[in-house]
Amino acid sequence: MNLKPETLKQIDEVITHYAAKRSATLPLLHLIQEDIGHIPDEAIEWVAAKLELEPINVYEVVTFYPMFKRKPVGRRHIKVCRTLSCALMGSYKVCDTFKKEFGVELDEVTPDGEVTIEFVECLASCGTAPVVMINETLHENVDEQKAVDLANEIKKESGVRSQESEAKP
């Protein structure tokens, strides 16, 4: 495991927040995922050793919580809210727009490693539906036009060519 010194420091600090080490499982997994992007087998074993647990104790946690990823995701992780309030305001079309713009299906990574699109459940911002999170930033009232604009911004930043023509129906 090649974690940044800063991450290791935060890990040692966060373990002190709990009366039982095992409680630090989620915080450690968050810190590791923020550092290296996903949770490989090696990380599961490392966390287990650090918290004096069996690897299965950590593995079952990783597989339970949707935010922990076993494989790398795109550098831009686009999470479109799927649940009722957002759906009522058009989030299914917004999600399709992103898929078309980047030529990927849900949960895939674009070949250049830039983008993953996920259709997630309620993000607790239903009053400004539809909402989309891109990495840690929340975008509100995202209609199809705004989705195209956001996609263009990402393409410009990452130098991705528009893959619209190859998009699946």
Partner: protein, 447 residues
């Protein structure tokens, strides 16, 4: 209709920032200063007198909950603030956390002092990374100012608050699932009895779990006194309540009113501007996605105290806990989701069913299998493969879940199906008749 903003007093106020200096310029932490000079039992008494009911979903009186805490076990008592905010349609805690975090921290410290808690956690959903950072920064500021941590304000009383992030699972909002998650495990809820948090909670110690909004109310209760608080709102439904309105209204958003002093019709028409142009309301979910749906046009005949009866239309229902319950639904989390006449209820239910099937923790067969079946049936209806028996089958699956599961998610996942099928027979019947989606050109897909 005039809002009465107590909790949301400073939300969206120009120039109001979420740092300690701004909070203190506005009287912040004065209530904590006064509270720590009083006997803790007196503070619990104020909360009891206030009658404040939990804002997380169940509406359980906070004072009664605090009274149930086992104080003789010799074990430490924990307090956990439930900031999971995961019930679809609910979006109030988000604004408290992002814009006024010190209000929550002050409320937490008062609740901790009253209950002799030395260690509190704020469990915030994983999808609010910015909120978690804001809270951490605010706690650090408060610690530096001797308002959190060892020997606060020189009183000899010490209490730490830590922020704990979830990771995207709805069931972490259920209090015992939350506790399991805080212990570093899957968020599998625990069975009650024996695992009432007040007795056997975090690390099998007595634990208080309260919603963010409830904890903020505590600050104002101690400030104005329990009796004064009890005069706000309506009897047994005291204080203000934040209603989160989303879906098909002209002005969705968050609105704080005295509990029960506003009707559903006033909220949706006067405050939220009514339906979109050329549309009419069809249905409304009054308290988060799991509450039973209300159909515009239906009426409710309720008993008055003197034995007489009164009849209410959906628009006449006061937005309190008791009347909504008497109408067969609930005030729940305050999340009001509105649907107009463009919506087909089978599609809306298919959307909700997909949510619950995704979020069941899987421990109990009725919830795990039932939520999947309800999802599958509504999905096949929407996709043109409805069968004659589907409406009856949905009802029969849903009817077999409540009361047979470890946690209240069993009810939460069954109530939508039970109420949608019962109240919108024409939508559910049509699917079989036409074998295709009767979706108008101006409808958006919901599944």
């Amino acid at each position: 209709m005039q809002q009465r903003r107590i909790i949301f007093k400073h939300i969206d106020e120009p120039g109001y920032t979420n740092d300690l200096a701004c909070y203190q310029r506005n009287g912040g932490y004065d209530v904590l200063r006064k509270a720590v000079a009083r006997p803790p039992a007196e503070l619990i008494d104020e909360v009891k007198k206030s009658g404040v009911r939990g804002r997380g979903g169940a509406g359980f009186p906070a004072g009664v909950k605090w009274n149930l805490v086992d104080r003789k076990s010799g074990k430490p008592i924990y307090l956990v603030v439930n900031a999971d905010e995961s019930e679809p349609g609910t979006f109030k805690d988000r604004y408290i956390i992002h814009q006024d975090p010190h209000q929550l921290i002050e409320g937490t410290m008062i609740a901790c002092f009253a209950n002799n808690v030395k260690q509190a956690y704020i469990y915030i959903r994983g999808e609010m990374p910015e909120g978690a950072r804001i809270l951490e920064r605010a706690i650090a500021e408060a610690r530096a100012a001797n308002l959190v941590g060892p020997n606060i304000l020189g009183t000899g009383y010490s209490c730490e608050i830590y922020v704990h992030r979830g990771a995207g699972a709805y069931i972490c909002g259920e209090e015992t699932g939350l506790i399991e998650s805080l212990e570093g495990k899957r968020a599998n809820p625990r069975i009650k009895p024996p695992y009432f948090p007040a007795v056997l909670g975090l690390y099998q110690c007595p634990t208080i779990v309260n919603n963010v909004e409830t904890i903020c109310h505590v600050k104002h209760i101690i400030d104005m006194g329990g009796e004064a608080f009890a005069k706000i709102g309506t009897p047994n439904n005291t204080g203000t309540r934040i209603y989160c309105v989303s879906g098909h209204v002209q002005r969705p958003g968050y609105y704080e009113f005295e509990c029960g002093k506003i009707t559903l019709g006033q909220l949706l028409n006067d405050v939220c501007g009514g339906p979109r142009p050329g549309r009419a309301f069809k249905a409304v979910i009054p308290g988060g996605s799991s509450s039973k749906i209300l159909r515009f046009g239906e009426t409710f005949t309720l008993k008055n105290k003197d034995g007489s009866t009164r009849t209410l239309a959906v628009e006449d229902i006061p937005m309190d806990f008791d009347t909504l319950a008497a109408c067969g639904t609930m005030g729940g989390s305050g999340g009001v989701i509105v649907m107009d006449d463009t919506v087909n209820m089978v599609e809306a239910l298919a959307n909700i069913n997909a949510f619950y099937a995704h979020e069941s923790c899987g421990q109990c067969t009725p919830c795990r299998e039932g939520s999947l079946w309800m999802k599958r049936i509504t999905a096949r209806m929407v996709h043109g493969a409805a069968r004659a028996e589907d409406a009856a089958l949905l009802k029969s699956v849903a009817d077999q879940i409540p009361g047979r599961t470890i946690c209240a998610m069993g009810e939460a996942c069954a109530w939508p199906t039970q109420s949608y099928v019962e109240k919108f027979p024409e939508d559910f019947g049509n699917y079989y008749e036409t074998k295709k989606t009767p979706r108008g050109a101006d409808c958006v897909p919901l599944i």
